[in-house]
Symmetry: C2
Subunit: 681 residues, 2 copies
């Protein structure tokens, strides 16, 4: 051709042709890289890549990662090897550092030397003349020697010598072939690849790294005002110290308090959510703000800010962290209503819109107008509320109804706070449609409340847990399985008695890395509800209650044992997805848990029928658990005590709810030692 | 708060808060919008969106689309309605225009009036006071009236009147409620929405629109040099006119010719791929280039460029399009070897690298060095080859081994040519690993050769066809099912005789919108292969053959009937995915095809065993085919003739390969007319 060129392109002799390597897919990746995956410090990110090039050339590549904070563009990439897998796949892994943001990418190039070496081997085996090939190899080795020299180090001289041998000319002899095909040269060449042909995965992929508590922990929620023996007296932070000891004895990690701020008087709700409060009714803690202050104040009846600080300190001394409720809404008496009237939405008659979900009205609550003209001022003020409590030692926040405030607000707030406080942990309480719940997790919440309370039958439990563990959901959504909340006393608990509470406790504590209960009603097996609803009768949301946590019939000791098992078994702290077992009784659910690393195996069997003995044959998935089909092994019930000798995959279980509705078995592998002496691991 | 603000943010009173609407997913979308979906002109794009907002507000939205060529940013978006579907989904559709590139997006906003109206209705039903609500509504209607006035048109006045009625004050009366809740106001408000809150899906999503032939057509491949009665005489384009008539009689749409250029002499291969040609051997047409010219020249033995032009004209007169082979490689005698030595890769001794796949060598072919220093010059020259043949009336290109040239080259080439020639159709011959085959389709190839030839058993056929039709593959990869090629004579055809050829013909022609055969060997049922291989014995790749297309035992008349059926039945031209039927015999495969619109149903049943009668019970999927379970309907065998009356879903078929190995049934629905007279549709 050449006699004509219809489109004259701009030619630049120095510009290289586009990379021949195609990086078609990098996983994990959420929505094309729009959202970060999540890890806690020290966890591994395993990256799987699909990459290829035209022709027959071999590829080589590295996994890149670095911190991606303010100094993102200064910090150099660290490199990890990428291992070739079948079907044009590559795999690499890196361990994340301290809380913050990390970035990962892959770079893959044509492995000219490896391609040459593979071709040479085939030709030598086929008896084809390779004299010219050795000259080509010499050229590649010489170039590597030059790269090595530029970097310094011992390889340059050795590679130069190898170049001379390969380039010697004449018939290919055994010495030259051995050098060309041998491992020493391949290793040295791999240290000095020609990466000018490298393709890099274009969009930035990010990891949100958090502290370990963001992933796993046992939560205990309680109302601080209900911490006295006398329901007519408003409890104080000082009174709460007994409740802290109770929580610590049960082995919890986090105590979470509903809002602790002054409560409005206008529109105050009465007991059992009566439309009007009677004199003396304390009101709902979520109707935040009064003359005494707003979101940065403490309810005077609970004590002072100093008392709160002391409470946080006491908790810390007991090994407990305090989590606060973030409910960004105001009572009509909140100071902002007078000071910043422009932050609220008004009706044509000038009155402020109270919250409503027609025809229901919440006259004790004014929503904030996140779209008001001074939205930046409002958003900053709300961010400052969070920073205020961080200054008072709180870094775990349970966010009330985030799905009723703009998504963009949460994305901004969490990122902005994390910039200076990467230690903050955020739990989203979005009991709403799945896409919204998931989107909040993608935006940065550390953990999410889930539909767990409403999954009580075997198949729906299995399906739901599988859904939460399936990719990509498990990469960005960490469930926190609350067994009850002040808003949700499921019918199963209302009618099931203590066996139901134990069953739900065991499920929550072994199916999710984070779980929680709202106590003391939970450990006291309180099942009294407003008829036809999931609301507690005499709910603490609207009145002060007093609880005798030592009264007979409670399950505090079982809660304590369950939390101890969680701490002791790596499989339950940060394990792999539950492995559900076949079992020939729909009232029984069984699943095995394994840690990411190591041999620990816990098998949980729960009787979902709180009224009758249920029995069946459990089919253990032997292969994934690395158990031989004819092996005998010991199972020890960590919850109820007792040891059993099982053989093979099929074993019998019977659970009497009157005795114990669940087994939490540790499977003890039988190991044959070198001295032929058998012991259990 | 407000007493401190740790981070002073830049405030701008005029900047609105971020959009509250989240557009979480838009489909179809390939790799996050990196690649275009494909349509042919007049086809529909159905877009499904997942979108939501915080809170209880209702949403409203539109689907946007426009041409996206040079004038992309000038052309205004066209809008189509988005219909709300369950689970936060929205659906809209648009019809694509002429070949070129189109762009689509969605815009969704808070429907303030609709939210208000829904709340008002609930409150009215609950007997709640709505006086203040009517004032709020009046405000919304007044704002819409102002928007309507700004645009002109009749709504402004009417909305202003409605504002006055709603704002009248006093107790809400029947007239005002009827106005507020009625359809006329809702319709007028929907015409003037407040779209300031709109979110728009961020990445551009593109549709590559092509002409209809890019999607469907019947292809006939033949070697022009083999078009004489005398195997010792090289056929000419004039000789080929008989072959064109033959192809036209069989009802094909496209005739595809292997390379028609001068063939190199250096390293020329002999008959049956002998390493050295004997005197008089014509060589492989893929060894392109000789003293007589390169990629823009015609082999002198075929005729002149004028003869080629005449051939293209004759084809067109017979309703056939000519497709050429694009094989970007050179024989050692190609003019470029002397003129542009820098476009080839050299060995250290200065010789040019011939093609090899160690230990195999192709001494008759020099690959081009797509990464040479003057890569832009080379790429332009190759693009000019394509433009040259476009000037000679060819707009369909079958690309030889695209996976051995850089992917970036194809992306550039096809886009660059399409800019001025959107009518070009590109078929990728990438018999390589699935990710590479798929990636070439993503980069812009109109159609792809597939693994169809190697899928001969029922389950593997079903699995493979399902894979090709599954999203997102079906959005970017259009299969062209070749039943044989000069490189692939599958063992099934080698040993199956005419019944095997008919079975594969029917499968290819009814399972993909585009299909092809390499003839005359196919319609003459030539099964003679080089032993232990899929190569034809006496392959036309290396020698001139002559064929008596009218010799007895051929299946040309069946091919003709099959192509006529394809033309007549919309279900087979551009239908929905094949619907495979259960059938109790692994040697039988059965599937129904339906068009995108309309009632046409074709049921294909093929006996995969070319040697024995096979019979079984076909289970028709009645519901997707809109057939009643107790209905009788007529099935007419369009291929073999004969009509049968079937009832319900389960019916018996028996196929004798000696008679006909396949049924292609038209299902005639029985329709009861208004006059109660039954007839078949």
């Amino acid at each position: 051709m050449g006699q004509r060129s219809r489109t004259e392109s701009t030619r630049s002799a120095t510009m290289r042709a586009p990379a021949r390597v195609v990086i078609a897919r990098v996983e994990p990746e959420i929505d094309g890289g729009r959202h970060a995956i999540k890890r806690v410090e020290g966890e591994v990110v395993e990256v799987v890549v699909q990459a290829f090039s035209d022709g027959h050339d071999r590829l080589q590549g590295v996994l890149l990662h670095r911190r991606s904070e303010h100094d993102a563009w200064q910090e150099a990439w660290q490199e990890e090897p990428l291992e070739a897998r079948p079907n044009d796949a590559w795999r690499g892994r890196f361990v994340v550092g301290p809380p913050g943001s990390e970035e990962y990418a892959v770079e893959i190039w044509i492995d000219a030397f490896g391609s040459w070496r593979a071709g040479l081997r085939k030709k030598v085996e086929a008896g084809v003349d390779v004299a010219a090939d050795l000259q080509e190899g010499a050229l590649l080795v010489r170039q590597a020697s030059e790269r090595a020299a530029a970097r310094g180090g011992p390889d340059a001289g050795w590679l130069a010598d190898a170049t001379a041998v390969l380039a010697r000319g004449g018939e290919p002899d055994a010495e030259r072939l051995e050098l060309a095909l041998g491992e020493p040269l391949a290793d040295a060449m791999a240290r000095h690849p020609d990466r000018r042909s490298a393709a890099r995965h274009a969009p930035g992929l990010f990891v949100q790294v958090e502290r370990a508590r963001a992933r796993s922990g046992a939560w205990y929620e309680f109302f601080p005002r209900s911490c006295t023996d006398d329901p007519d007296r408003h409890g104080t932070f000082r009174d709460c110290e007994g409740r802290l000891r109770h929580a610590a004895r049960m082995g919890f990690d986090v105590v979470y308090l509903p809002p602790i701020h002054p409560i409005g008087r206008t529109g105050r709700k009465g007991r059992d959510n009566a439309r009007l409060a009677a004199p003396g009714d304390p009101g709902s803690p979520w109707a935040i703000g009064a003359a005494e202050g707003g979101h940065d104040a403490v309810h005077p009846a609970l004590g002072t800010l100093d008392d709160f600080d002391h409470f946080v300190e006491r908790a810390r001394a007991l090994g407990l962290e305090v989590a606060l409720d973030v409910a960004f809404q105001c009572s009509p008496d909140h100071p902002w209503v007078a000071e910043r009237p422009d932050w609220f939405r008004r009706r044509p008659d000038g009155s402020i819109h109270y919250a409503e979900n027609p025809p229901k009205r919440y006259e004790d609550i004014y929503p904030l107008d996140f779209e008001c003209e001074d939205w930046r001022g409002l958003w900053d003020a709300l961010r400052d509320v969070v920073l205020f409590w961080i200054d008072h030692g709180v870094t775990i926040f349970r966010v009330d109804n985030p799905h009723t405030k703009p998504f963009a607000f949460w994305a901004w707030l969490i990122a902005d706070v994390r910039r200076t406080h990467p230690e903050t942990v955020w739990l989203s309480e979005a009991f709403t449609r799945p896409p919204l719940l998931q989107h909040l997790a993608k935006l940065g919440f550390s953990q999410s409340y889930t539909y767990f309370t409403w999954r009580n039958r075997r198949r729906e439990l299995e399906d739901y847990v599988r859904e939460l563990w399936s990719p990509p959901v498990a990469e960005y959504l960490r469930p926190n399985f609350f067994a009850n909340t002040p808003d949700i006393l499921h019918e199963y608990l209302q009618i099931g008695g203590p066996a139901a509470f134990v069953a739900r406790l065991v499920l929550a504590a072994t199916l999710a890395d984070s779980y929680g209960i709202y106590g003391p009603p939970f450990e006291l097996c309180e099942g009294a509800a407003v008829p036809g609803s999931e609301e507690y009768r005499g709910s603490e949301k609207y009145e002060i209650r007093s609880w005798d946590v030592d009264r007979p019939g409670g399950i505090a000791s079982i809660v304590a044992r369950m939390n101890r098992i969680r701490r002791e078994q790596p499989a339950l702290r940060a394990g792999q997805a539950p492995l559900f077992c076949e079992i020939d009784n729909e009232q029984l659910v069984a699943y095995a848990r394994r840690p990411r690393e190591g041999r620990n195996v816990v098998l949980v069997v729960v009787n979902l029928d709180p009224h009758h003995v249920q029995s069946g044959w459990v089919e253990l998935p032997l292969e994934p658990l690395s158990l031989a089909s004819d092996a005998s092994f010991q199972v020890e019930d960590l919850l109820g005590g007792g040891r059993y000798l099982w053989t093979g995959g099929r074993n019998y279980v019977a659970l009497d709810p009157a005795v114990a509705p669940a087994h939490v078995f540790l499977i003890r592998h039988r190991v044959r030692s070198e001295s032929d002496f058998e012991y259990f691991l």
